[in-house]
């Protein structure tokens, strides 16, 4: 029974290999026909990368150059000083913020993905009373912006005395309706009913089927959900703003906001904010590059039969 996923795994590897060598479907040489497409894609790439380029460049400037030098080219190279100052300002609280953000995003996205996949799998593969209603509710929840839930969440947290703790950010981050929705689509398309039936015939329990049969098949989809949620938590500003008041618990974005200009202070920390922001996007970029392969597979996953 354990051989079935292995066969699929081998097929996926073969597909990846073909793709790597560029012999897959849809890969064509540059010609006049798709020149336009390349130009359009190039424009989009420039559009998306320019802010990152600006950020990287600005992280090398001191406060004055930040405003007085040309924005898209180097001035005095001050990167090392900026890095040192960012990491040591206020007793090195930035390092603590990195740790917090990694914890919120890492634990939140990991546990959240697991919950999403379990829920999505159950919705896709089990027939039970209220299934349609639950799925409709999940779809409805997709439409509610997270920001609007921050205040009610805060009031709830406050009732159970969890405000200003790690839990106040972690718990609400665990639930991700988009993730449940995607997981259901992936499970419907990617886990054949026959396979589950075969496993049942072989005497596997439902949990074993989920962990041993469904999860390996859903891995690309899980990476997609994980990445989406990781980025969402990493960037979430309003929820931590409302539920946290101890700077030692802040994620990076909230922490950097406390360095923002304060009229009563004579300290201008723009260069540290920019450097801090630059440092904070590096893990995201690294994660996307590392997981890109799975992610692409996940996006296309289910697009045929889903």
């Amino acid at each position: 029974m354990a051989d079935v996923p292995a066969v699929l795994e081998a097929r996926r590897r073969e597909h990846d290999e073909r793709e790597r060598r560029g012999v897959g479907v849809g890969v064509r040489a540059l010609g006049p026909k798709n020149l336009l497409a390349y130009l359009a894609l190039g424009a989009v790439a420039v559009y998306c990368l320019t802010p990152i380029y600006w950020l990287a460049l600005s992280a090398t400037k001191n406060n004055t150059d930040l405003f007085s030098s040309f924005g898209l080219w180097f001035a005095h190279f001050n990167l090392w000083q900026n890095l040192r100052d960012t990491l040591t300002h206020s007793d090195g609280v930035y390092i603590r913020w990195i740790g917090n953000t990694a914890l919120y995003a890492g634990v939140g996205a990991f546990a959240g993905t697991l919950i999403s996949v379990m829920a999505g799998y159950a919705l896709a593969k089990y027939r039970f009373v209220g299934r349609g209603l639950i799925f409709t509710l999940v779809l409805g929840a997709v439409l509610v912006p997270q920001t609007t839930l921050a205040l009610p969440t805060y009031l709830l947290m406050s009732k159970v005395s969890l405000t200003n703790t790690y839990w106040a950010v972690l718990l609400p981050s665990l639930l991700n309706p988009v993730g449940v929705y995607l997981a259901r689509v992936y499970a419907t398309a990617g886990v054949p009913d026959d396979l589950i039936d075969a496993a049942r015939v072989d005497g596997a329990g439902e949990f074993r089927i989920f962990t041993r049969v469904a999860l390996p098949l859903l891995r690309p989809g899980m990476v997609t959900i994980f990445l989406f949620q990781f980025v969402a938590i990493w960037n979430n500003f309003f929820l931590p703003l409302v539920v946290l008041s101890d700077p030692n618990l802040f994620p990076i974005n909230l922490g950097l906001a406390t360095w923002n200009f304060d009229p009563a202070s004579h300290e201008l920390l723009y260069n540290l904010i920019v450097t801090g922001a630059f440092l904070s996007v590096l893990p995201l970029i690294a994660m996307f590059l590392v997981l890109q392969r799975y992610w692409r597979a996940g996006l296309a996953f289910g697009s045929v039969t889903g």
Binding site: F67, S68, S90, L241, V242, S245, T258, L268
Partner: protein, 435 residues
């Protein structure tokens, strides 16, 4: 066969383990061993140093200082939500302009019953006026932002101007001379979105946009009175002739223009000195501070842009101790010294304002003792902030900005603003007199 079960329970155990560690490190809140626990919110740096100092000399009270993100759309909603949920800090920094908004949300404790008036004389009158409403006292004035005139003397000299404009008439004449240096040269910027700045200019001219009619127990709004329209028309003329830039203050372009000397002055508050030092480093030694230009020659009338109070927040279980900390924070010499030297306050406390920490010569300003210029400012105590400041500033920024962008009269924007503010107050259940 039972393998997964082991693994699952191991995972769960790990998760719960991490969880309990997490909740263990998030301490705070509860009082222990007879010591009263207080929390203090501010968005200033170095507040923990001041709290440590207080805790050392007050064994029965322990203050935890937590630095919060600043910004009107972040800090005040956060404080108000916390008040609503019943876990607000005991003491918090509140900018003067937000005090009536906080009071109308029942978020501040009147500290007059804890003897606040006993220390009234230690603070400058204009700052004390900002924390009082009738007989109630809603905090202690921390720092203040008297307005003045920072100018780039090199650019002024190039334009043949030898002394800073003493009146607004002179200012308008100097504007012509400076613009004659080149099309990019402006005496200053008129930033249409900068609400606090424009309100300061109205205040200086003697306008009182908001006031409380105690007999009718209602707010009076006079945003479009004759004085305000005089100020609006004055700037309108400069904008129409292209003599002032309309670039936003604190923007990249504005910073760059200050650094090049092409925007030659900034009508700003005392704290503006640090901003110029930071963003116009290439012009070191060229800047000078002078009193703000006057409507009546020989007067010394100024206004306030910025400044904040330390208030006791409603819902605190220990108002007495919270008041003790708030009062100590702004009257203790050690705390004030940290505030002035490390945070950078221009203190409302008279003794601190006269100290040598404040009145030090500034190398960036050619060794001028910049602060002295601002100490002489006379600030009318008649100006009151509205109970719905967030809405007022939203409307005002939009209206003035639209007027400048569409080249429609700014005085018309004030008429529109008057209607919007009255409307907003009414829809929020605030009594408006004659509305």
């Amino acid at each position: 066969m039972r393998n997964w079960r082991h693994r699952a329970s191991l995972c769960l155990a790990l998760f719960l383990g991490v969880a309990s560690v997490l909740s263990a490190c998030s301490g705070g809140g509860a009082s222990s061993g007879g010591v009263v626990q207080l929390t203090f919110w501010s968005f200033n740096q170095q507040i923990t140093e001041q709290a440590d100092l207080f805790n050392k000399s007050h064994p029965n009270i322990h203050v935890t200082a937590l630095k919060q993100p600043s910004g009107p759309n972040q800090y005040y909603p956060k404080v108000l939500t916390a008040v609503k949920a019943g876990n607000a800090p005991d003491v918090a920094l509140i900018e003067y302009q937000y005090i009536p908004t906080m009071v109308s949300n029942a978020a501040l404790v009147d500290v007059s019953k804890y003897g606040a008036n006993g220390v009234k004389d230690q603070f400058v009158d204009s700052a004390w006026a900002q924390v009082t409403q009738g007989r109630a006292v809603y905090g202690y004035p921390q720092d203040t932002g008297p307005m003045g005139f920072f100018y780039n003397s090199a650019t002024f000299k190039k334009a043949g101007i030898t002394h800073p404009p003493a009146t607004w008439d002179e200012f308008a004449q100097d504007a012509v001379k400076i613009h004659a240096l080149g099309p990019n040269y402006y005496i200053t910027a008129f930033p249409p979105q900068s609400t606090g700045w424009f309100q300061g200019l109205m205040w200086q001219a003697g306008a009182t946009w908001f006031s409380v009619d105690t007999a009718a127990n209602a707010w009076k709004v006079s945003v479009n009175d004759a004085t305000s329209k005089k100020v609006a028309s004055y700037w309108q003329a400069l904008v129409d002739k292209g003599l002032v830039s309309t670039v936003a203050d604190f923007s990249n372009d504005w910073n760059a223009a200050l650094n090049k000397g092409t925007i030659a002055s900034w009508i700003s508050a005392v704290w503006g000195q640090g901003v110029i030092t930071g963003s116009a480093a290439d012009t070191k030694g060229q800047w000078t501070a002078a009193p703000i230009p006057q409507w009546t020659a020989g007067a010394k009338t100024s206004a306030m842009w910025g400044g904040s109070a330390i208030s006791v927040i409603a819902g605190t279980k220990h108002p007495q101790e919270a008041n003790e900390f708030a009062q100590w924070y702004l009257t203790n010499s050690g705390s004030l010294s940290i505030g002035v030297k490390e945070i950078g306050w221009f203190p409302s406390n008279k003794t601190a304002q006269q100290s040598s920490d404040v009145n030090a010569p500034q190398a960036f300003y050619g060794n001028q003792v910049v602060d002295t210029v601002f100490e002489q400012a006379e600030i009318p105590t008649t100006w009151t902030w509205p109970p719905n400041l967030t809405a007022v500033n939203q409307f005002m920024g939009d209206d003035v900005n639209a007027a400048v962008a569409n080249k429609t009269p700014i005085v018309d924007a004030l008429d529109k603003l008057q209607g919007q503010i009255v409307q907003d107050m009414k829809s929020n259940g605030i009594n408006v007199a004659g509305g």
